[in-house]
Symmetry: C2
Subunit: 168 residues, 2 copies
DNA sequence: CAGCCGAGTTCAATCACCGAACTCATGTCA
DNA sequence: TGACATGAGTTCGGTGATTGAACTCGGCTG
């Protein structure tokens, strides 16, 4: 990946970036947290060239972030699901969201601890419980309607738990 | 940056990636936390093409992550220093380091709370004090000697505070 | 059986990245 | 003062990645 794999940088940050550092990859991971699981849904929501999406999804599968599993509803198709290693990227995604919210523009959704519906703090912890919830226990709650009108953007207007498959 | 700036992704994560999502950028930021401040030091430590380094440093300056200030010791030269917005990237850098350490290879240094020399937990907090130290109060403590022999890699073999200028 | 849909693959043009060589201002030493 | 070194870039030809549009293919759907 990335042309030349940051050879010689023996640092765990460089190793991480070899997996999630390419253009589009982190947005695919974000969408996977949002519950996107099908090729065309990623494509429609990200406006990513199909060839690149294929390459990135294969890369993420090879690197153990996603698994491709048969779609129970449609023979011959499959969906991309997040692995444990993928879920462990939640702190990275959250840290990027927090920085952007503070320094770029004020975010279009908030993230709540599903158990008590308290907004997570910048460290990803629930200020009420003191716990740092796993992504499965985080609720995405939109506060501004996005301008996009693709099926995924529309489905994302509802409050829902991370990693819960989106109904599109 | 990034060819096409993730147009239409009105999400703070996409906005963040427009600033730090390109190849090399995050490694430059990491090195800036390590105290690297001069063009040739970045170049030597990263093995990045000089033209690309110029482009990235200018981008980071334009985006308010670094500032270019006159070098007090050498007329006509300057150094790149981290801004407040740059410091706020520490949680992102730390999250990437933590993921790589867990899922790729077991890191070559640990990060300690300078005040009590306790190793930070995965959330970046000090388990002893309960505080989440600012990067200035984090100590980088090498545990494995890197294979690299450039001046920066050598200087990084000593324990030091983040953001403290490296003596090279 | 004709057409649709999801999930890709192929392809030419464009853009970014690479490494090596070149520039140019300052600093150092004889 | 002249010769050379060093830091910080710039320039440039070649290579590899990204883009958007068009094409393929297998499983439904009517």
């Amino acid at each position: 990946m990335l042309g030349k794999d940051y050879d010689g940088q023996d640092c765990s940050l460089a190793r991480t970036l070899e997996t999630v550092g390419e253009r589009w990859t982190m947005l695919i991971v974000r969408d996977a947290f949002f519950g996107v699981r099908r090729f065309n849904d990623f494509q429609a929501h990200l406006d990513i060239p199909r060839a690149v999406l294929t390459e990135r999804l294969n890369g993420l599968v090879d690197d153990g972030i996603l698994i491709r599993v048969p779609d129970p509803d449609h023979a011959g198709r499959h969906v991309y699901e997040m692995t444990e290693a993928g879920r462990d990227l939640w702190p990275v995604v959250h840290a990027l969201l927090v920085w952007g919210r503070r320094h770029r523009h004020s975010g279009s959704r908030v993230y709540l601890h599903a158990a008590c519906e308290t907004e997570l703090d910048d460290g990803g912890a629930c200020p009420a419980c003191g716990l740092t919830p796993e992504p499965e226990d985080v609720l995405s709650a939109p506060i501004v309607k996005s301008r996009r009108e693709d099926a995924v953007a529309v489905a994302l207007r509802a409050r829902h738990r991370l990693l819960e498959p989106l109904a599109t």
